[in-house]
Symmetry: C2
Subunit: 263 residues, 2 copies
C-alpha cells in the first residue's frame, strides 16, 4: 500500500523570531505540497521575556532549567506568542494552521525528567505520540503547528526539546504516512568541511554515519542530531533532511539521512 | 429534526486565575454531559504580566487599549498561559480539550475596530464564526477551549471581548446544535434586588427584559449582557444562562434567558 506523503518541518527559534527569516520560512512552508506539519522553537524569545520579567535563565548542556516561573514564561512564549503569531501568519497564506502543544488533544504525552545529577524542573521526555488523533486531524486538511510543550496527563505542562518532539512526532506518524522530516539548520546541511558551505554531504545512512564519526568529520552537536535522525529512520520515517531554512523551497538540497536499503 | 445539545460556557479571568475557583470550575465543566465548549478570559493576568514587564494597562469603558506591546502580552497570557494551563488540567480530568484562538483553523475571523473617538489598537470585532469547522471538530469528540483572541485573515491577531466571542460562537453553532450558552457570573444570576442573592429572576424573555429595564430593576453593566443574550436567542441559540460559576454543576439555577415562545 502506498502511503500519502507528509512533510514535517522543524524550525528553531532564531528563524521564527526575526521578521525577514520568518516571512521567508512561512512562504516556503506554505508552498510545500501535500500534508504537512510544523514544529517550532522559541528559546531566544523565552530568554528575552524572562529577562524582561527579571527571571534568570539557567541552561545546563544547552537545556533550560524550568522552574515554576520559567514554566510560565515558556508557556506564554512558546504556546502563546510564537505559536499564535505563526498560526495567524500561515492562515493569511491560505494554510489552515492549528496551533497545538502536546496537551492539546493529548497528542504528546511526556514524563517529567527524573532528577539525577541535574534537576531540570518542569522538563518532559516524550513518552507517547497520539498518531491516530494527529493523523485524523491532518487528513481533515488541518496543518498542526506544534510548540515545544507537552503534558504529563496529570495536569502539568512540561517544557520539551523541539528537535525531540519533531523526531517523536515523525515516528508516531510513520504508520500513517510516508514521512519526510526536515530539520532547518543554520548551515546548508552536514558539511564535510565546516568552513566550506559547498561541502554538503548529500546522503548519510547508518554505515556512512559510523565512518564519518570515526574519521572525525562529524562531531560535537551534530552527533546527537544524526543519531536522532537515524533512530527516526529505523522507526519507519522515510527520510530525514538537514538543510538551511532558506532551502525549504527545494528539498533536494541539504543532507538526506536515509535507510541503508535506499542507497 | 432534533439537534444534539451543546453547552458553551464562558468564564471570566477571575475564576480561571485562582487555584480554588479554577479547580471547582474545571471539575464542574468536566462533569457536563454531551458536547461542550469553553470560552475563557484572563484580563487580570494580562494586567499583572504587563505591569511586571513595565507596560501600562489603559482601559476605556472597560475595554483594553491594545497597542503592539499589549498585543504581545495578551497573546502570551490568553493564548499561552491561561489557555494551555486550562487545557492540561482538563486533559487530566478526561476531557479531550483543544486550546484555540480564532486564528486556529480560522474559526473566528474579525475586523480591526475602526478608530472613532478612541483608538483601541489591535482589538477585533467578530465578523464570522466558522461553524462548520468548529462543529466537525466538536462532533469528533474534541472540546474546544477558546481564548479571547481572533484574527483578521491578514496575519494579525486581534484582542477580542470574551463575552462577545462566546455569544458569536453560540450563534455560529446554532445551525448545528441545540445550543445552551452559560455565562459564569460573580452573582447567582440577574437579581431583582442587587443586595439579595436570593432574588434571582428565574426567566427573562424580550418582553420581560423591556419591563425590567423600564422599572430600573436591571441597569448598568447588566443591560448589554442581557441585550447580547437576547440577540443570541433571536439568532437561534436555545437558551442563555447567567449563573454563578460555582453553580455550573446545576444549570437549573441562575437566570435563564429564553425565547418568548418558551414561557
Amino acid at each position: 500500500m502506498t502511503k500519502d506523503k507528509l512533510t514535517i518541518v522543524k524550525v528553531g527559534g532564531k528563524i521564527v523570531e526575526e521578521e525577514e527569516s520568518l516571512r521567508q520560512l512561512l512562504a516556503d512552508f506554505a508552498s510545500i505540497e501535500g500534508f504537512k506539519l510544523l514544529v517550532h522553537g522559541g528559546g531566544r524569545s523565552a530568554t528575552k521575556v524572562a529577562a524582561d520579567l527579571g527571571i534568570e535563565t539557567k541552561m545546563v548542556d544547552g537545556r533550560r532549567i524550568t522552574d515554576d516561573d520559567m514554566l510560565k514564561v515558556v508557556t506564554m512564549v512558546y504556546g502563546g506568542l510564537v505559536n499564535k503569531s505563526v498560526v495567524a501568519r500561515l492562515q493569511s497564506l491560505g494554510v489552515d494552521a492549528l496551533g497545538m502543544t502536546g496537551a492539546d488533544m493529548n497528542i504528546i504525552l511526556s514524563r517529567k525528567r527524573p532528577v539525577k545529577s541535574v534537576d531540570y524542573g518542569w522538563v518532559g521526555d516524550v513518552e507517547r505520540v497520539n498518531g491516530e488523533a494527529l493523523s485524523a486531524l491532518i487528513r481533515s486538511g488541518v496543518v498542526p503547528v506544534i510548540a515545544p510543550l507537552t503534558h504529563d496527563g496529570e495536569g502539568h505542562l512540561l517544557n520539551t526539546n523541539a528537535d525531540t518532539m519533531a523526531g517523536s512526532t515523525a515516528r508516531g506518524l510513520a504508520p500513517y504516512f510516508d514521512v519526510r522530516l526536515v530539520f532547518c539548520f543554520e548551515k546548508p546541511g552536514v558539511l564535510r568541511d565546516e568552513n566550506d558551505d559547498d561541502s554538503v554531504i548529500a546522503r548519510i545512512d547508518r554505515a556512512a554515519f559510523g565512518q564519518l564519526k570515526n574519521e572525525g568529520i562529524v562531531s560535537g552537536g551534530m552527533l546527537p542530531k544524526l543519531e536522532n535522525a537515524l533512530d527516526a529512520i529505523d522507526s519507519g520515517v522515510s527520510e530525514v533532511i538537514i538543510t538551511k531554512a532558506s532551502s525549504l523551497g527545494n528539498l533536494d538540497a541539504g543532507t538526506h539521512i536515509v535507510d541503508n536499503k535506499m542507497i
